[in-house]
Subunit: 126 residues, 2 copies
DNA sequence: TCTAATGCATAAGTTATTTATGTATGTTTG
DNA sequence: CAAACATACATAAATAACTTATGCATTAGA
C-alpha cells in the first residue's frame, strides 16, 4: 500500500472511526474459519473487506500476530502451501477453536443486544 | 468494592469476556447524556449496569478520565452540585456533543450491521 | 519498467481500558 | 456502635489491542 494513499485515507477517515472494531478481530477470524473451513491470511483480509463493503479493513500488523496467537492458543492449526513460487499459510480451526466460537457468538449476541438497549438506534434489519 | 470480591469475580469472568465493549464507552456516555439530559458519573455506571442487566460494568478508572476528556473536547459541560455534604458533578451534552452523537450512531449502526454480516448470528430482535 | 497487488513478517508507538490505589461521606447490619 | 458496604470523586501504572511503519519476495498490469 502506498504511503501517500494511506495518509490521504487516514485524513479522510479523520480519527476515531472504527474504534468500535477493537476487540472483535479474533472473533471474526475464528467465526470465518469455522464457516469457510480453510483460509490464508491475505484471503481473510479480502473477505472481511468485501463482506463489510470496505468499511472494515484488517491491517496486516493486526492480522498476522493475531493468527499466531490463536495458533499458539491451540484454536487454529496451520499448513504451509506453495502456489507456484509463492507461500501461503492456510489456517484451519481446531476442535477447541470450535468450542471457543460458540462462546464468542454468545458474547457477541449479548454485546449487540446490550448495545441496542443502551443506544436503541432503531436499526431496521428487514 | 472489596478486593477479594473483585478477585473472585475476575476469576469467574475468566478473561476475554467483554473485550467487545472496548471503544464504545464514549459513544455510550454521549448517547445516554443526549437522552437523559443530565447525569453524574456514578449515576452513569449504575444506569449502564441496570440497562445491560449487569453484563457491562463501567469501571471508575475508565469512566472519570473519559468524562474529563469529553469535557475537554467540548462535547460535555459540567456543573458541580452538593447533595448535603457530598459532591456530584453533573454532566450535560453540548451542541457539538449532539452533532457528535449523530455521527457516533451512524458508525455504531454500520458496525453492528457489518458484525451481523460477518458473523450472521441470526439474532432475533422481535 | 515502474507501480500495484499478493503474501508473509515484526518492531515501535499509540491509546483505551484494567488494575490498584486514595480520599471522604452516608447507610446498613451483626 | 463498629465494621462493612454503598456512594462519589480521582489518578497513576500496567496491560493489551491495535496502528503505523517498515522489511522482504513474487506476480500482474499499465
Amino acid at each position: 500500500m502506498h504511503k501517500l494513499f494511506m495518509y490521504v485515507c487516514s485524513k479522510f477517515n479523520s480519527m476515531g472511526t472504527n474504534q468500535l472494531y477493537k476487540g472483535s478481530l479474533s472473533t471474526i477470524i475464528l467465526k470465518l474459519l469455522g464457516e469457510k473451513g480453510r483460509m490464508y491470511g491475505y484471503q481473510i483480509t479480502q473477505e472481511v473487506k468485501a463482506i463489510s463493503a470496505g468499511e472494515y479493513m484488517i491491517t496486516e500488523g493486526a492480522l498476522y500476530p493475531m493468527l499466531h496467537k490463536l495458533e499458539a492458543q491451540g484454536l487454529l492449526t496451520v499448513e504451509i502451501e506453495m502456489t507456484g513460487n509463492r507461500m501461503r499459510k492456510y489456517y484451519s480451526i481446531t476442535k477447541n477453536g470450535k468450542k471457543e466460537v460458540v462462546d464468542r457468538m454468545t458474547e457477541m449476541e449479548s454485546f449487540i443486544r446490550n448495545m441496542q438497549s443502551l443506544l436503541n438506534p432503531k436499526i431496521d434489519l428487514a
